[in-house]
């Protein structure tokens, strides 16, 4: 087990190192730098040139690439993500502010997915081939094929504009300050509804199909037949004997999909004016805010690696047959 852990951690660090180098290269080699972007407005050519040089020096862009990377790396090791080129604020702080809106949506979304998808999948599997199964399968398949941003546009158009039921710009209304405590909670909750749904429905459909499929496979196993033969109630057979064994792939599926929900969606957050990580990333790319882009790439990569790692460990916990020694 210890050997497995250390091997995984070392290979994860190697991957992470590769990721930082690729990101750094992609970002820094792009033509046009932030200094150029920020001095483009200055009319006087001489002044513009002088400010440009000063900015490049300030940002450290005048140094060779490997020196810049070394500097970034040494800061990172000390836990410093640097300052934004855009407004000079600490990158860690900017990310911290954007983290909660994205994280909260991701968590609610995951919870809602599991709460709805698991019972739905089980029920459909038990009723295999009956009308409920057929209809829910077809609907879920269609739902799965709706792109999140298409769903977002349709929700905004019909629920937001035509019926005027739900707000769709940002996290709170303009008159937020005047509301009572309950009113504020209600206001924020309403803002969460549509964007959370857009993050959820695709995964929900996928998970439900997945649960159904896995359960169908398990139901055909001998030990399920044995459980039935023992005269156990159908409920116990399905939930205790069959479903628990179909959990295994579900755990790794969560590990595979969750980090991508966590990193936010550029389009959805932009569409709903949501102050999350996706929008921060988009704005950083537009403004060539190198430290913020690097930090976001790095954090996302860490999240992906950590969640797949945790999922692998959970795998062993759910399924004692899995051995980490090889």
């Amino acid at each position: 087990m210890l050997l497995y852990l250390s091997r995984r951690i070392v290979s994860g660090l190697v991957t992470l190192f590769g990721i930082t180098i690729v990101s750094f290269g992609v970002i820094q080699l792009a033509p046009g730098d932030p200094a150029q972007l920020q001095t483009a407005q200055i009319a006087d050519a001489a002044v513009s040139q002088r400010v440009y040089e000063q900015l490049r020096q300030l940002y450290g862009l005048d140094r060779p690439l490997h020196a810049q990377y070394g500097l970034w790396m040494s800061r990172l090791v000390r836990g410093d993500l640097g300052n934004s080129f855009h407004d000079g604020r600490r990158v860690a702080r900017k990310i911290g502010e954007a983290l909660w809106p994205t994280l909260s949506v991701a968590l609610i979304s995951l919870l809602a997915t599991l709460v709805v998808a698991v019972p739905l999948g089980i029920y459909a599997a038990v009723r295999q081939g009956r009308p409920f199964d057929r209809i829910s399968s077809t609907l879920l398949y269609m739902l799965y094929s709706v792109p999140p941003y298409v769903m977002g546009m349709l929700l905004i158009l019909y629920l937001g504009v035509k019926l005027d039921l739900l707000p769709f710009r940002g996290m709170r209304s303009d008159h937020f300050a005047e509301l009572s405590a309950w009113g504020r909670f209600w206001d924020v909750s309403k803002h969460y509804v549509m964007i959370t749904f857009c993050f959820t429905f695709g995964n929900l459909a996928y998970y439900a199909r997945f649960v159904r499929q896995n359960l169908l496979e398990v139901i055909r196993q001998d030990y399920v037949r044995t459980a039935r033969a023992k005269g156990l109630p159908e409920r116990t057979v399905i939930l205790r004997h069959a479903f628990r064994n179909s959990l295994i792939p579900l755990v790794s599926l969560i590990g595979l999909t969750f980090p991508f929900v966590l990193s936010g969606s550029v389009i959805l957050e932009y569409m709903f004016n949501w102050p999350g990580l996706g929008r921060l990333y988009f704005e950083s790319v537009l403004g060539r805010d190198y430290p913020t882009i690097m930090a976001l790439n790095f954090i996302t990569a860490v999240l992906v690696l950590v969640t797949t790692f945790v999922a692998d460990l959970a795998y062993g916990w759910v399924d004692p047959r899995v051995s980490y020694e090889r």
Partner: protein, 371 residues
């Protein structure tokens, strides 16, 4: 990479002639034929295929379906077919050879105003007699009998722009997945065949690329290149190859130990020949499934990028840019939102359906679980 799956049949006997490339037209009797026969029985898959074919037809025939110049006309005593020429020029490379005759070639020529029935002029128009860039009416008008889907923010016909947008979507879908398939096949088969250190290095590289959320990587790279549709295709291709690579690697790993590979090796064939002629044709089917799903994702990404302003640039039309125009005029022109939504949904749905059916047909293990 073309629109069709390469028609490579598994070679039954070592062929005499040395490699002339992967695609060989052996009379179809092998695996692909049986795949097609079984695919025909998958109702949903066939439905998906029908939509795919429909979208491809709309994409290729777009100039004949929506055009500001007629399909066939008599103008000033001569017969012209400008829209047909447009359709022919749509074929890659043909625009260098085929040109419209004067005066239809001229940018300043406006057939609709020069049209004069008194002179004996007549015209057979396209289904939608408006060009995708032609300003035809007041901006942001709702659907009417003349403009079935209304007009956009510049007063252009939305239906015409939707039809021409299909071309963009299909091109991006197929070409970017073509690029991705080539990269994935090359890296995946090298990793699978060579094994050892090469495999470890390539596998790690695949893992690195997979760790980036694709969309982030695409945005970062597009900050590099000017946002043009060709660049969008290349970037999507460069980032979406990991699935194909992993499939190819896995299949080659599986097939590498087969007897026929051992036979080929003992005959002294080069690794390139063994991979291209003996391994890949047999590994192609699962890879095709991955490519089909990839096309759906590429179409999705293209529309999303165009929505963000990183994809197709005005005045060209894409489903994503139409959707964006609808978003920006939410309260005044909601009629621009449903059409691109439906189109994107149908495109994604149809490729998913085909991909699922293909997988069920190709992978016997999955077939058992469906019984």
């Amino acid at each position: 990479m073309s629109d069709r799956p390469p028609s490579a049949a598994p070679s039954s006997a070592p062929t005499v002639k040395p490699a002339e490339g992967m695609v060989r037209t052996v009379p179809a009797a092998g695996r692909w034929w049986s795949v097609w026969r079984r695919l025909r029985k998958e109702r949903l898959g066939v439905a998906g295929l029908v939509i795919v074919v429909f979208l491809l037809l709309v994409a290729t025939l777009a100039p004949l379906l929506a055009n500001d110049q007629p399909v066939l006309c008599r103008f000033d005593g001569s017969i012209y077919a400008p829209a047909v020429i447009d359709a022919v020029r749509n074929v890659p490379g043909a625009s260098l050879v085929v040109q419209k005759r004067r005066p239809f070639r001229l940018a300043t020529f406006d057939f609709k105003s020069e049209f004069d029935p008194e002179r004996g002029d007549w015209a057979v128009w396209a289904l939608v007699p408006f060009g995708p860039r032609e300003i035809v009416a007041e901006p942001l008008r709702g659907p009417s009998r003349v403009h079935w889907l209304g007009t956009d923010q510049s007063g252009r016909d939305v239906l015409s722009r939707m039809i021409h947008g299909a071309g963009i979507s299909m091109r991006v879908g197929f070409l970017s997945m073509g690029i991705a398939a080539v990269i994935g096949l090359v890296l995946g088969s090298i990793a699978g065949y060579a094994g050892k250190t090469t495999d470890i290095v390539i596998s790690r590289f695949i893992e690195v690329v997979m760790c980036f959320p694709t969309f982030f990587l695409i945005l970062a790279v597009l900050a590099w290149f000017p946002p043009r549709i060709e660049n969008v295709m290349i970037v999507i291709g460069l980032t979406r190859w990991t699935g194909v690579a992993r499939y190819a690697r896995g299949e080659i790993l599986r097939l590498r130990e087969s007897d026929y590979v051992a036979a080929a090796k003992s005959l002294g064939f080069s690794p390139a020949r063994i991979i291209l002629r003996h391994l890949l044709p047999n590994a192609m089917a699962p890879i095709l499934v991955s490519v089909t799903f990839g096309i759906a994702v590429s179409i999705l990404i293209e529309a999303g990028l165009s929505w963000l302003g990183f994809g197709v640039q005005p005045p060209d039309s894409s489903w994503g840019t139409i959707l964006r125009a609808g978003y920006e005029n939410l309260f005044t022109a909601p009629h621009m939102i449903p059409p691109p939504c439906i189109a994107i949904f149908l495109a994604v749905l149809s490729f998913n359906l085909v991909g699922d059916a293909l997988r069920d047909v190709i992978d016997p293990r999955l077939q058992e679980t469906r019984a």
